[in-house]
Amino acid sequence: MSDTPIDRVAKATPPSVASKIRGLSDRTIAWLFVAPTIFLLLAVNIFPLIWTINLSFTNFKANRPNREVDYIGLRNYERILTDGDIWLSMQATAHFLFWTIFLQVLIGFTLAWLINRKFKGNDLWTTLIVLPMMLSPAVVGNFWTFLYQPQIGLFNYGVSFFTGIDPSSFQMIGDVALAPWSIVIVDTWMWTPFVMLICLAGLRSIPDYIYEAAEIDRASKWRQFWTITVPMVLPFLMLAVLFRGIENFKMFDLVVQLTGGGPGSVTELTSINLKREAFEKWRTGYASAYAIILFVTVFGLASIYVKALNKVKER
């Protein structure tokens, strides 16, 4: 066995230090492990974000990369905030957001409450109900245009079967008044199970003894529902609303496939509007400013909401 100076030093060092020399130190490992993720996110998220901010002050057009780029200050922002079309798409988004969240909370909570009655086979049915939300929104959205066909579409047939209205007398996605509802229906169909699952977790987190105590105090079922069930599920419900809110604010794939923003622009949500500006009209600078405004809006609303959520949780 060789006895080099290094070996002698190694033997003389205390075991704790030796173990650090043997392997990598915890600190090094921590950095080694976190660095690739952070690097990737910086490269694919933060660097583009900074680039977008920079572009938003210019009149750059991506389809003419060789044209001279001028810095035009805040003019893009000014134009966006005074543009009537953008306010219209904001309104379309608000309508979509409000009604999808309202319906999904209503139906999702009801379903969760019913499933929590623990009838036989509830696991199987829960799994089946969840299927739509796991599927590709673009592919499913495209197929829904078939279901919405007047006359031959299954949806129109179903409506006429139950109400007697002639199935060829209305067009869900071709009619200015009905189109905003056609996207609400499909989104509700797809995402109600999400709200349902979260509510179900909330309901199952309520311990039985609370109800037992209420029962002993002779509180009515109605009162139990409003003073125990609802407050205990509320934080979960608010979380579901947060997730759905962020997702539907970003909504693109499903609606693009369903209506493409039409007819006219009644279902042109902000993401679709933004895509038009950026990739059809190629107003890259303008679209970048638009993207920044949207991001700040989502981020701002989400932060305020999370604060409210935390307050509810503390109660």
Binding site: L114, V130, V139
Partner: protein, 313 residues
């Protein structure tokens, strides 16, 4: 133990609740059943009124999905040798001949390559980062974790503008590598958050015991933590895979040919005079069924996956 409980719903309540839930499930599954059945209908049955529930199954949709066809005249058709295969026969019945394979196979394969590639990368990098966040004092830990989550709040179209320019400069537009990197970046936030939750649940004592036994930190991670986290890693991987599989916005904006995945392709399947619905339904069926199977396998982890681990149950 079968003692009477005052919180247990009565059997009548259960019956009513059960029927309502089953009714909802049947209605909500109808569109999916319609996709599955339309794929096996002939074009005339697919657009029949009233909608056909009972029909003669046909593989025409699937044949049309995988082939491109050209119309030929009756004389040309008679001049041809008899059809060699069953699918040629189906096409001939419509006065057409097969011109070649369609793009569906390629697009499906692209979805597989990009899906698995990005899933592997995001789970690999995500596991490392999650372990570090779970076990070590990383400076600014909470800020970094929030930063990772906040990258999910950007509308994909907003991110797509600079990514489009960046990919064009780097020559990554319409490449598998570009899409894999992009999807990895999108998935990694989910992977880190989910996996951190799973690793947090593994008692530290296991590793400490291993460290005392003379393992290095890295060996302890590799030989003790990883096997314990295997289920968590697997379910995280399936969630990442489903996300990449379903993604549409980036795919439609950043790919056009070589690296195009199935979701932007399926809606473009057209036949004579409009969309060829049986073929679209066939394409959708093949694309959706794997996800349905995974969903059923994954049902215990569903909630955790879709809420970033925010709800564990």
């Amino acid at each position: 133990m079968s003692s009477y409980s005052i919180t247990e719903p009565s059997s009548r309540q259960k019956w009513v609740a059960g029927s309502l839930v089953i009714a909802y499930a049947i209605i909500t599954l109808l569109p999916l059943v319609w996709i599955l059945t339309t794929g096996f209908k002939s074009p005339t049955d697919a657009i029949a009124y009233p909608p056909k529930v009972v029909f003669e199954p046909s593989l025409e949709g699937y044949v049309n999905l995988f082939t491109t066809r050209t119309r030929v005249t009756q004389e040309q058709l008679e001049a041809l040798p008899p059809p060699a295969t069953w699918y040629e026969e189906i096409v001939r019945d419509r006065d057409m001949v097969i011109a070649g394979p369609s793009r569906y196979g390629e697009r499906f394969l692209n979805s597989v390559i990009i899906g698995f590639g990005s899933t592997f990368l995001s789970v690999f990098l995500g596991t490392l980062a999650a372990y570090a966040f779970s076990r070590f004092k990383v400076p600014l830990k909470d800020d970094l974790l929030f930063f990772i989550l906040s990258t999910r709040m950007m509308p994909p179209i907003a991110v797509a503008i600079p990514i489009f320019l960046m990919f064009r400069t780097l020559g990554l537009s319409d490449t598998h590598l570009g899409m894999i990197l992009l999807y990895t970046a999108v998935n990694i936030s989910l992977a880190v958050w989910l996996l951190k939750g799973f690793i947090d649940e593994i008692p530290r004592e296991y590793e400490e015991a291993a460290l005392i036994d003379g393992y290095t930190r890295f060996q302890a991670f590799y030989k003790v933590v990883l096997p314990q986290a295997a289920t968590g890693i697997a379910s995280t991987a399936i969630f990442c895979l489903i996300f990449s599989w379903n993604e549409y916005a980036f795919a439609v904006l950043l790919t056009s040919g070589t690296a195009q995945t199935a979701p932007p392709f399926i809606p473009t399947i057209i036949g004579v005079g409009g969309q060829d619905w049986p073929a679209v339904a066939a394409g959708a069926t093949l694309f959706l069924v794997p996800v349905m199977v995974f969903t059923i396998l994954l049902r215990k982890h569903l909630l955790r996956g879709i809420t970033f681990g925010a709800v564990r149950k």
